[in-house]
């Protein structure tokens, strides 16, 4: 049972790392600001959730699990609002420069 739990926790951690990787690849490879933002915030939130869950399983304590949950909720909150603000900023910049909305100026 414990071995199974550990394996599951390790799997969760690995999935989390994978999502982080995906986010970073998106950040580097995607062509314009809005799609980079899209890749980044979504992937990172799932990544953090997965890592929190894995770590909570490993610790095996309710207190720790609740703390990690709080951390994840806070991160979600921050990511949502700041992504929203960054997106508006980016959109406005694009309008200013007369280029098509969302396309990266280069």
């Amino acid at each position: 049972m414990s071995l199974l739990l550990d394996a599951f926790a390790a799997l969760l951690l690995l999935i989390g790392a994978f999502f982080y990787l995906a986010g970073t690849v998106g950040l580097i490879r995607f062509p314009d600001a809005l799609s980079r933002l899209h890749a980044l915030t979504k992937a990172d939130n799932i990544g953090l959730l997965s890592i929190c869950a894995g770590s909570a399983l490993m610790a095996g304590e309710l207190r720790v699990a609740l703390l990690l949950l709080l951390i994840w909720l806070m991160a979600l909150f921050a990511a949502t609002v700041s992504a929203h603000l960054i997106a508006r900023r980016s959109l406005r910049d694009a309008e200013d420069s007369g280029a098509d909305a969302g396309k990266s100026p280069s």
Partner: protein, 97 residues
């Protein structure tokens, strides 16, 4: 199992520094801010893993502090860097190399 946690920590750190490329390259300040935000959430993940690996519970408190600050400061950064004013019609960041 012994290699898993440090391996993941290292992996996330590499990830983080790879994202540095976007800060360096830009081209817009939105891109730079975005990368800094990515670093915030990656740092939290790294701290959680370190807490598990080193058995220091307080590192989870550090993670909580970082995430609270990230929530507040990220909005601050975005608010400040995003705010436009009469003085700056053009965005010089755009001409960054």
């Amino acid at each position: 199992m012994n290699w898993l946690l440090p391996g993941l920590i290292l992996f996330l750190l590499v990830n983080l520094l790879a994202g540095l490329w976007r800060v360096w390259r830009g081209p817009s300040s939105a891109d730079r801010m975005m990368s800094a935000l990515l670093f915030g959430s990656t740092s939290v993940a790294v701290l959680i893993l370190m807490a598990e690996w080193q058995g220091i519970r307080a590192l989870r408190h550090v993670a909580l502090l970082v995430v609270m600050l990230a929530a507040i400061i990220a909005i601050t950064y975005v608010g400040i860097s995003g705010a436009r004013d009469k003085g700056s019609e053009t965005n010089p960041d755009r001409k960054a190399p």
